[in-house]
Symmetry: C2
Subunit: 281 residues, 2 copies
């Protein structure tokens, strides 16, 4: 997480920043069904950063580590022109890993939680959009405290065969694109099924752009052989689950539904996103 | 390794930069007597960095990984205002680890190779000092290609009891200071025994400042129960070894010898360096 790219110190909430820096890594472990064990932290600090500020970042990081059962076993401190936090996190698997290359035509596609909140929170902080009161607080909270889906991921990985899964870090369409590419399949997404929060709706109305492309949400996206019920999965994973589409044989990503944004209908695929999505491989 | 702090792209040798970014991490494994297994690489890139330049950095990194038996198993790419390479490296131990807290009064202190070459190389590249011909090429080479002391470290760790050891990354006095602090002991260093290269001597004459405080050399510093011969250790480790001093009960770091620099005689300890040295804990 790099200052000026992923966050701005004027946003305050330095504890949240520290917590988030670990959470985004925990999410990768969750998406494979693993359990985090230990991490190392590289902190690059610039002039003008007070010890107190660093202490607050580190306090948030330590709390997030404790809550997830992760040991901070070492790290490094270096000078730089901008503040950045780089974490390498180790995890282990109890059984099969969830992978990106195992989706099959006919699989149903699900997501946990709601999408688009964190990218809206980011845009509120950056002043790119406006909102007040509860909606604003909720969306910013979703940015600073990504959901912990470790237990949901572990329970998902116990399903046989293990689902193909990924975390939504770059945006639903891009991250689904990773699965489609690796699994050599396509998908149809029903925009009317995309789960968004009341706060999202209060700010964006019917516009799904941030829910489809926003990234930063760190919810889980997964593909199951057909026949699972949303209510059953929600109970099993301990988090709301929504069915949003289906894996297809034709290698193309299609977004349907009356509220599908034009850009998604037009794109008809994820090729144009490939440069961006390579960044998380 | 951060652009503008640890390197400058105008120095060229991008392969060397990539190799060095892994080598400095391998050195930490060597200093514990371990074997590297796998690493993840975080590359932060700024505008104006060409793909070709990144490819050259990565080629150097891959070569260094292959030569040391390290798998590059993943990583991340992010935008930033300056180029930086952050590596987290996993290693494993065959037996006992060499630690920083096991030095005892009476132990003899040794170092591998020569000290001060890499910091001189850095200063030559930065234009802070001048030198020509072979000496210049040698010193710059020592900066870009830190020594690989993995095998020496493994052989050292097989000695019983396992020596207290550390790699010389911050400078001999600072790194020895880590051992002294953790082991709750002191040391006397004989400046006349500090090993320096002919190239170092050609540039610096009798001035030992960079050999004592320069850092960047990534040689091994270790403490053995008394009685080991330099020649025997040199044969056993496969690298030149020099005895440079002794661990003392009095918690103070003393540099003696006719060529001991004033700053080292005056400092009488490592307290003033503690803020810096914390960075590598």
């Amino acid at each position: 997480m790099v200052e000026g790219v992923h966050f701005d110190l004027r946003w305050g909430n330095f504890e949240g920043l520290g917590a988030r820096s670990l959470a985004v890594n925990l999410s990768d472990i969750a998406a494979m069904g693993g359990r985090p064990t230990a991490c190392v932290v590289n902190l690059a600090i610039r002039e003008g950063i007070s010890t107190k500020l660093l202490d607050r970042i580190y306090a948030g990081l330590r709390t997030a580590a404790r809550e997830s059962g992760t040991d901070i076993v070492g790290g490094n401190l270096t000078r730089a022109r901008e503040l950045s936090i780089t974490i390498a996190l180790l995890g282990e698997l109890g059984g099969a890993a969830m992978r990106r290359d195992t989706a099959r035509p006919g699989d149903e596609i699900f997501v946990t939680g709601t999408l688009g909140d964190a990218p809206l929170g980011w845009r509120l902080l950056a002043g790119e959009i406006k909102a007040r009161g509860n909606a604003r607080a909720y969306l910013i909270g979703r940015f600073f405290r990504p959901p912990n889906r470790l237990r949901a991921g572990q329970r998902l990985a116990a399903i046989k065969p293990a689902p193909s899964a990924i975390d939504v870090s770059d945006g639903l369409l891009q991250d689904l694109g990773h699965i489609l590419e690796r699994s050599r399949v396509g998908a149809t997404i029903d925009a009317t099924a995309i789960p968004v929060s009341p706060a999202y709706r209060a700010v964006m109305g019917d516009d799904l752009i941030h829910a489809l492309s926003g990234g930063e949400d760190y919810e889980l996206l997964f593909c199951l052989r057909p026949g699972s019920r949303e209510s059953e999965l929600t109970r099993r994973l301990g988090v709301p689950v929504r069915r949003i589409g289906r894996i297809t044989r034709r290698r193309r990503l299609e977004v349907i539904g009356s509220n599908a944004p034009d850009f998604a209908k037009r794109s008809g695929g994820w090729d144009q996103l490939r440069d961006l999505t390579r960044s998380n491989d």
